[in-house]
């Protein structure tokens, strides 16, 4: 069981949000799980936390296809925020479009955070999905 201070779930599909929350239960203890319907809402919250010096989420579950601001736009803006903490970002999508995978690869190169790519369906969240320091083990 891993103890986490804060988790963001960014997805417009309530079923996926329900699934992630449920799968987190057996692996993580977290008192601060925030749900956002699109990238814009999540970014506004993240930006507010960053500027006011509040806790930055340790893990973000990020959907790609969302209205208003999609997962990619959110990533771009987040990189620009210049957050010092290394955040684990799990991109969760049902897309099997190779161009999405390619984009993930490009982002991984220049993103200071840990960027994972997870194709739906997912049945379990591993501890490794919550722990950025694989190299430490």
């Amino acid at each position: 069981m891993k103890k986490l201070s804060s988790i963001f779930i960014v997805d417009d599909d309530p079923i996926t949000v329900f699934g992630i929350k449920r799968m987190l239960k057996p692996v993580a203890i977290c008192d601060d799980i925030q749900i956002f319907q699109n990238g814009k809402e999540a970014f506004d919250a993240l930006s507010e936390r960053h500027t006011s010096g509040k806790e930055i989420p340790a893990v973000i579950f990020l959907d790609i296809n969302m209205p208003i601001m999609d997962g990619w736009d959110f990533l771009k803006e987040m990189i620009d925020l210049d957050i010092h903490e290394r955040v684990i970002i799990n991109m969760i999508t049902s897309s099997i479009d190779p161009s999405d995978y390619q984009r993930w690869n490009d982002f991984k190169e220049r993103c200071p955070h840990q960027l994972n790519f997870k194709n739906k369906p997912i049945f379990k969240i591993e501890v490794s999905d919550l722990d950025g320091f694989h190299m430490a083990s």
């Binding site: 079923i15 996926t16 319907q37 809402e41 209205p67 099997i96 739906k120 049945f123």
Partner: protein, 609 residues
């Protein structure tokens, strides 16, 4: 008495008009006429001092002839070496009463003019001979009276007869090749005598050695006292010249035939880009005769811009001396017709190897170009359709995958869950997922229908009436949202459209406008139509939230793309509308300003079925 006689004689002699001198046997002058003194420039006082043998010392055999007591004449010069006159003098013995020879009488005539004429004739003869030899121009002369025919040496050489050959008219005419040449010369010769008409004709002879030769024969009657006395003519060997000319003409004929029948436009230009040669194709293309084209520049024939480019190419070729080969060009004639050419321009050199202009060759590739364009359009269309298809396949796969992933996940949860309340919650979620899947399938089905039902017929539809009908169906929805609809569409305007699509387009644009209304304003939707370039445009404007087009411009008509936090937003309506309009050959565009409103413009295509 004697003295008187002498004086009379003396006076008589002095006045003789012909220069006359009396000399003694010793050669001393005894008396002379004034004219003689003047001729030799001797003052009358010194008359007795002059000795004829000194005066005429240069005349050979003078003494001997005088001693022989003969009368004879001779020619001699008189004066200095540089300035002299020619004299002809006659010496006769001078007898006294007793028939004794006492001296000589010499009479002199100034014959300078005759002598010069003779010299001139000699000179002319020699020139004529030389000229005749050099130019291969012989001459002949026919005496009408005696029927004598004279051939000069050159004329004989041309006939390849020995110089001793003496021709007559019959023989001469028989040298001409039987047929045209012989008949012609007979007639011309006859006419020259009878009608005094001169002739100058190219004909063929067969020489003594049997060679066929081209000659130029000319003749002219010489008339004396109203009678034709002679016929004089020239005779020239022009065989090599004619052969060369024939060869040139043959080459020219070959070249002209070749150039004229090439399926290419060929032209030659001088250094000022003036046309100096054009072939048939070029004339046909420019719809002008060669005469009208020669001397013209491109500025006279083409659109100014095209002419300018062409002149620059010409200058480049003339300057660099390097040809332009197979360049794609567009020519626009004065009347505006444009033709695509594959043009080559090659520098043209004169015999001194100096550039004198250029040869241009153009191939009309308009039809190839047109086919290429058609092909490219087809490829573009195909690739657009292909992209649409791939896009659609991705949409389908993504949408179905996301639902199936949800099912899998929820079912996995259900299997592992013992808590009855939690199980119920999961089953509710499954029901929700199932409904979502159904809706998605329905939506996809609509899109597939549009793209497969290409056989739906367009019908004339009155837009105004149609808007009223759709509006009627939406009454409850519109009233609930307090929407004001301004139908400003031309009431008589009719477009050809598929009725079901028209319904869908109007309904989606209306509901879209209401969905994205501003919470701060009562929604107003204005519908208008206009005609631009014979195309009918239906515009639907609202005063809603507006869309940041710079950010979402290309995504707005995408499937399941919504740009507002709105519960009703499904992101499907505009995708459907675009598919329906495009299926009818039209298009849809959008203008928008955030927090001001949005306008959708629907372009109807009247041409396609």
């Amino acid at each position: 008495m004697k003295a008187v006689e002498r004086i009379e004689q003396h006076f008589l002699l002095r006045q003789l008009p012909q220069a006359t001198v009396l000399v003694g046997l010793d050669g001393y002058v005894i008396d002379a006429s004034d004219s003689w003194l003047a001729l030799f420039g001797i003052p009358s006082k010194r008359i007795m001092e002059v000795n004829i043998f000194n005066l005429l010392e240069k005349v050979d055999g003078l003494k001997e002839n005088i001693a022989a007591n003969k009368t004879y004449s001779f020619r001699h010069k008189c004066g200095s070496e540089n300035e002299f006159i020619w004299l002809e003098s006659i010496i006769t013995p001078w007898y006294d009463e007793r028939e004794n020879i006492v001296g000589s009488i010499i009479q002199s005539n100034d014959i300078s003019r005759e002598a010069e004429k003779e010299l001139e004739i000699d000179r002319i003869h020699s020139i004529l001979k030389t000229k005749s030899e050099v130019a291969h121009v012989g001459y002949w002369e026919f005496d009408v009276q005696t029927e004598n025919l004279f051939w000069c040496d050159e004329t004989k050489k041309i006939h390849q007869v020995p110089l001793s050959f003496e021709p007559n008219v019959n023989e001469a005419i028989n040298f001409y090749k039987p047929g045209y040449s012989r008949n012609k010369i007979s007639m011309l010769f006859h006419k020259a005598i009878e009608e005094r008409s001169p002739f100058n004709e190219r004909l063929t002879i067969i020489t003594k050695n049997g060679e066929e030769k081209w000659i130029q024969s000319a003749g002219k009657a010489i008339v004396k006292n109203g009678e034709v006395v002679k016929v004089f003519g020239t005779f020239q060997d022009i065989h090599d010249q004619v052969m060369a000319e024939t060869k040139i003409m043959e080459n020219e004929q070959l070249l002209t035939t070749l150039i004229d029948n090439l399926p290419l436009n060929v032209f030659v230009k001088d250094l000022d880009s003036r046309k100096i040669l054009v072939n048939k194709s070029e004339c046909e293309y420019l719809e002008k005769s060669p005469k009208e084209l020669i001397g013209k520049t491109d500025y006279d024939l083409y659109d100014e811009e095209v002419a300018k480019i062409s002149r620059e190419e010409d200058l480049e070729v003339l300057k660099s001396l390097k040809p332009i080969l197979g360049k794609e060009t567009i020519s626009i004639k004065k009347d505006g017709t444009a033709t695509n050419f594959l043009t080559s321009k090659i520098p043209l050199f004169d015999l001194n190897n100096k550039v004198s202009g250029l040869i241009g060759i153009s191939m009309d590739i308009s039809s190839i170009k047109k086919k290429e364009d058609q092909l490219r359009n087809l490829i573009n269309l195909t690739s657009i359709q292909n992209k649409k298809l791939i896009n659609f396949a991705h949409i389908v796969s993504h949408n179905l995958r996301s639902h199936s992933a949800n099912f899998s996940m929820l079912l996995q949860f259900l299997k592992a869950e013992d808590n009855e309340r939690e199980r119920e919650h999961i089953i509710n979620m499954l029901t929700q997922a199932s409904d979502n899947l159904l809706e998605t399938l329905e939506n996809l089905n609509q899109v597939v229908d549009i793209n497969t039902n290409i056989n739906l017929k367009k019908e004339p539809i009155n837009i105004y009436d149609h808007i009223i009908k759709v509006r009627h169906g939406l009454t409850a929805f519109l009233e609930k949202n307090q929407v004001l609809i301004k139908n400003k569409v031309d009431q008589k305007l009719v477009v050809k459209s598929i009725p079901a699509y028209m319904d869908s387009i109007i309904m989606n644009l209306l509901t879209n406008a209401v969905k994205y209304r501003s919470p701060e304003r009562k929604p107003i939707i204005t519908l208008t139509t206009k005609k631009v370039d014979n195309k009918i445009i239906l515009s639907v404007s609202d005063n809603g939230l507006g869309i940041d087009l710079e950010r979402y411009g290309d995504k707005i008509f995408g499937m399941y793309k919504t740009f507002h936090n709105n519960k009703d937003a499904k992101g499907f309506g505009l995708y459907l509308v675009r598919n329906q309009i495009e299926a009818m050959g039209g298009k849809i565009t959008v203008n928008s300003e955030v927090d001001k409103g949005t306008t959708f413009n629907v372009y109807f295509n009247e041409k396609t079925k």
